[in-house]
Symmetry: C2
Subunit: 236 residues, 2 copies
């Protein structure tokens, strides 16, 4: 479903699937029944796909082809927000009636942005740096609606403390291949990742790649679903 | 594998399975190869079974039959420690060569211990109380080795903040049946649970029922596996 796309496809299709789910995230507008837009996830991350499924959303997956690079140096919040929105807008250009979700996750250690490792050595280096230290994880996500052009972009920050890591477990984890597609070279939901992290402050799912509680409230507001439960949650 | 046992079985069997896994949690003692004890989980919680599997452990599951009740009022830490150890000891009495893991998880709101709901109304009442508030989750776990009689019991505390909940989502969640076997009437890994929790401080897996990072280090030390990574981790 999320195979790598050919570069620059000319005819990108947005299948129209109903947005359903246990959580009743049905689309409505001013209490009228309206055609449901397709929910599109502009990410090939299997974690994000699982997270959207976990909260009962049905969606199609169309990874964006934008480069995950920002030329200028910007603060972490801007970094993830810019990339999340860029990914969502990229995929949205090929859709006629959809809500497109883009997201970007980074690890920040001592002010330095750490993205995905380029190779196994890079992954070992990253994990050695994270060992015994506190770092931050930022996820930005963006909702882009077409054809209206409405956009909502938000970010969430979680602090993560690693225990001291053993060389053997770092090497075994990297050898498993799991760190290679993950910011900071670890997944908190992995076998090793779970036993590396001794403490977090914030949303666990944000570390996995999408802050579910924040996203859920944002999505409900974005789709005009009245919800007392998200009172106090204010869109930026 | 974890069906409800008949009360007080006379001939409880501990199958001898090797303890294997990606995390190399192999049993060794003074660097000699010794017969591997069976790892036994004295719990019928599917969450705990999944968590042990996540970190690569193989085990057999023999739920204890002890009542999850403590006559006297004790602080949360003692409550979970006493019950975890009681469960592990109960199952250990039927084993000849094993490490038995017992665990107990409670929610504490304003000093009051909240366990599993007794019925749907109780679950609704619990979730209404947790709505918009901060509470604590304590998990106690106990490792009991037979025939040596060695015991290690520990506990971990996580703080959890719920956002304001909507009546409809509380009712829908309770109707799903999912809250009924869970302390505090929620699972942080559920569809609804994931979007109810806006922030935690501590270990996420502790809220699910077993603090994986702490447990992993304790288990390695308990089984005499040298491990630099868990330095600074001191057994009580």
């Amino acid at each position: 479903m999320c195979e790598k796309r050919e570069p620059l496809p000319r005819f990108r299709v947005c299948l129209r699937l109903p947005i359903l789910g246990n959580l009743s995230l049905n689309y409505s507008h001013n209490n009228d029944t309206v055609p449901q837009p397709t929910l599109v996830l502009a990410s090939r991350s299997p974690r994000r796909q699982n997270l959207l499924r976990q909260i009962g959303l049905q969606f199609v997956c169309i990874p964006s082809t934008v480069e995950e690079v920002i030329a200028e140096t910007v603060p972490p919040i801007e970094h993830v927000s810019i990339l999340a929105e860029r990914k969502a807008r990229d995929v949205a250009t090929g859709c006629t009636h959809a809500i497109v979700v883009g997201a970007d996750t980074i690890v920040v250690l001592e002010g330095e942005i750490i993205e995905k490792p380029v190779d196994a050595e890079d992954a070992v280096r990253m994990l050695r740096r994270l060992s015994g230290e506190r770092h931050e994880v930022y996820t930005g996500y963006s909702l882009v609606e077409v054809p209206s052009g409405r956009v909502l972009t938000r970010h969430v920050r979680t602090e993560v403390w690693f225990r001291q890591l053993d060389s053997d477990e770092i090497l075994a984890y990297v050898k498993s291949g799991s760190p290679m597609d993950k910011a900071g070279a670890y997944g908190i939901q992995d076998d090793f990742g779970a036993v590396f992290v001794r403490r977090i402050v914030g949303d666990f799912y944000n570390v996995m790649g999408l802050p579910l509680c924040d996203f859920y409230c944002a999505y409900r507001q974005f789709t005009n679903q009245k919800h007392e439960g998200c009172n106090g949650f204010e869109l930026a």
